[in-house]
């Protein structure tokens, strides 16, 4: 029997989560190295319409567990279903997306299967000799990378955060098998009662919590310029902030001020547009992981601090940047 490289495909309200497709791409790579089979395991209620997408993105087989008790995620029902299936089919590898649900499900399944789980992997590969899965992940708040193995237990399990791998391009001609697997789930099996599910937007923006910040300074020149910066921020999934000069000029609110008299931020990405980089501003952002500066003045202090300094007019560079990012995203669309 071919080695099973499984992806637990996550769907919510009948919508496939993008991370599951990202994982299919990776599963394909790994399966090819192991001469294995990519299997998407799909749980839900009346979700068979999603099986095609899974096959188009790389699954050789979809195992569909369709049951009314799987309509909404519960730890107990999903763990029971996956473990019964896994104990029968004995996969080599199981990947789960590290969403809020995946991080609840993954460890429960791993513990029930008495195997190891490696969370938030950013790299997945196969060892040439042992053919074991090599799982690379950050630790110590991201300051260290570790490569983990699960040599003596099966399945080998990993969770991967959304956005770490890219969605593979869909091949609409691709064919695969779909099989249904029945699990007997009773209401008493589910120990948690769902009273309500509420969709809501997170309320207050705290710039100190943002992973990506697009900040504007005196060089932006006016309030309207910040609309352009907001467009860039929205495209990147980040938020807008400003230097003291921008706040004092009334172009952006005080609670978005970065600097000595504002807030100190340490995002993954800080894009400084039209900011000169006076010492009071640097004090608030110099510990950012990656700093991009766009400024007409090649000698502005911020250019020496930036990891990537772009000499140019932000009103020309930022629109181009927005265009490029959108184009890149579109190049592999999700159904």
């Amino acid at each position: 029997m071919k080695k099973g490289v499984w992806v637990i495909a996550e769907q919510r309200d009948g919508n496939l989560q993008k991370v599951s497709l990202e994982l299919l791409g990776k599963a394909r790579e790994i399966a090819d190295k192991l001469d294995g089979e990519v299997v998407a395991v799909l749980l839900g209620y009346e979700v068979d319409k999603l099986t095609d997408t899974l096959i188009h993105h790389g699954a050789d087989r979809v195992i569909l567990i369709d049951n009314i008790h799987l309509k909404h995620y519960t730890t107990d029902a999903y763990t029971k279903a996956i473990c019964e299936l896994a104990n029968e089919r004995k996969p080599e590898i199981i990947f789960i997306g590290a969403t809020y649900i995946g991080r609840d499900l993954g460890p429960r399944v791993a513990a029930r299967l008495k195997t190891g789980l490696t969370a938030d992997c950013t790299g997945l590969d196969v060892d040439d000799e042992t053919k074991n899965l090599l799982m690379t992940r950050p630790a110590f708040g991201g300051n260290i990378m570790a490569t983990i193995e699960c040599p003596n237990h099966r399945p080998q399990m990993s969770t991967v955060r959304p956005g770490v791998f890219s969605v593979p391009c869909a091949d609409y001609e691709r064919r695969g098998e779909v099989e249904r697997f029945n699990v007997d789930i009773k209401e008493e099996d589910i120990k948690v009662k769902i009273e309500e599910i509420v969709k809501s937007m997170k309320e207050k923006i705290d710039i100190t919590e943002a992973d990506i910040i697009v900040a504007g300074g005196r060089g932006v020149g006016n309030k309207e310029g910040f609309t352009l910066l907001k467009e860039l921020a929205d495209t990147l999934g980040g938020i807008v902030a400003g230097s003291r000069a921008a706040v004092d000029s009334g172009w952006i609110e005080k609670d978005r001020q970065v600097g000595q008299t504002g807030k100190t931020v340490r995002p993954k990405l800080y894009i400084a547009c039209g900011i000169s980089g006076a010492i009071q501003h640097l004090a608030g952002m110099q510990e950012s992981e990656y700093i991009v500066a766009i400024n007409k003045d090649s000698d502005a202090p911020i250019m020496a601090v930036a990891d990537l300094a772009i000499v140019g007019d932000l009103y020309k560079v930022v629109p181009e940047l927005i265009k490029e990012i959108k184009a890149y995203r579109q190049s592999c669309e999700v159904m």
Binding site: Q260, T261, I279, Q280, L282, A283
Partner: protein
């Protein structure tokens, strides 16, 4: 000689550091600017037992020790001299005299609420004509039936506008000179007691520094603290301990300024280099740090002597004298190191310099401290 902190003191220090970072530092600049008394911080400190640290649980205190209390004053002052003096005046100048000289009834009535921070305390000795010449009390108190009637005014009273309990000194028998001064526990709501002007100051601007007005103020006779005529002795003994608190406040101010200067020197570049590489400034830092270390040793030696029941009066004066002068010097030098930016409100050092000055003046001016020290030596 073991200079290390006990395990409990170590945990307390960690707590103070976190508390100051999260609750005190973020509002220090704003309350200075708006002269807003940080009553919410007082409530938070009360919940954590910080308003009654050196008093045992049996009387309603937090069961800590004196050194831990002094550490609290120091840590607070690193970020905010105002919050620090609120604690110091409350604990040393109001809670301590009631604890030391009060009757069981007085202690039971006032200490539990004071030590939990539900009541705030203050100490009212200074008058318009009685500063360094504290014995020149013009506020009078005469016994009439079940009450002492107080008349007069006090000035520059720390915590004045927000305190619930005041230790007030008044002349009960002018013919006896200093032995005719008595101490009273006065509550905010007593008939005939009102708060007058709140001073607008150079520094510790959010500290409520008030004028107190007594116009036929009725104080129940059971609120006489100690005996009639004991007032001056109570005042001087109280100030002895309070001096260690102010010394700790001055120490904290100096440390806060020094830390800011060190951080800035590493970041600020001139002539293509961080200014921390310039030997002239390196020498300033060496001098400032040495003085701060000396001040720290004087403060904690005095605190240790008080805690272990030894005579600490001269040590307290030396600590207060030296730490306050150090605070003034270090904050001034810190502003100098910051240059132009240090003179603006963008950075906290200008506030620290304004805050430092009062430590050379209140709870006994530097001149008074020298009198105390020399009297101790030359007696």
């Amino acid at each position: 000689m073991d200079f290390s902190l006990t395990r409990e003191q170590q945990l307390a220090k960690e707590m103070f550091e976190k508390f100051v970072e999260n609750e005190v530092r973020p509002i220090a600049s704003e309350i200075d600017e708006t002269e807003r008394f940080p009553i919410e911080t007082v409530k938070k400190m009360g919940k954590l037992g910080m308003m009654g640290i050196p008093f045992e649980r049996e009387v309603g205190g937090a069961g800590g020790d004196f050194i831990t209390y002094i550490m609290a004053v120091e840590e607070l002052a690193k970020a905010c001299a105002t919050t620090s003096v609120i604690l110091s005046a409350h604990t040393s100048l109001c809670c301590w005299p009631i604890y030391t000289f009060g009757t069981d009834e007085q202690k039971a009535k006032y200490l539990p609420k004071l030590l939990k921070g539900e009541y705030l305390g203050a100490f009212a000795l200074t008058e318009p004509n009685a500063g360094t010449d504290a014995a020149s009390q013009q506020t009078t108190a005469r016994l009439e039936g079940d009450y002492y009637i107080l008349n007069g005014s006090k000035v520059f009273i720390t915590n004045g506008g927000y305190a619930d309990v005041f230790i007030v000194f008044a002349m009960t028998d002018r013919s006896k000179g200093t032995k005719g001064i008595s101490a009273f526990i006065v509550e905010k709501g007593f008939e005939g007691f009102s708060i007058g002007k709140i001073e607008e100051k150079m520094g510790i601007r959010a500290s409520s520094t008030a004028e107190l007005i007594f116009k036929d103020c009725k104080v129940p006779k059971e609120n006489l603290l100690g005996k009639e005529g004991m007032g001056f002795k109570i005042a001087m003994a109280t100030l002895d301990g309070g001096r260690i608190g102010i010394a700790a406040q001055a120490l904290g101010i100096a440390e806060g300024a020094l830390n800011e200067a060190i951080k800035y020197m590493k970041e600020r570049k001139q002539f293509g280099k961080p200014i921390a590489t310039f030997q002239g400034l390196q020498f300033y830092i060496a001098e400032m740090a040495t003085k701060v270390e000396a001040a720290r040793n004087l403060v904690y030696k005095a605190a240790w002597k008080k805690q272990t029941g030894q005579n600490y009066s001269m040590d307290a004066s030396m600590a207060k004298l030296y730490a306050s002068e150090t605070a003034m010097e270090v904050t001034t030098k810190a502003v100098q190191i910051f240059g132009g930016y240090g003179y603006t409100k963008d950075y906290p050092v200008e506030r620290m310099m304004r805050d430092a000055k009062i430590t050379e003046i209140y709870e006994g001016t530097s001149e008074v401290q020298k009198m105390v020290i020399s009297a101790n030596i030359l007696k």
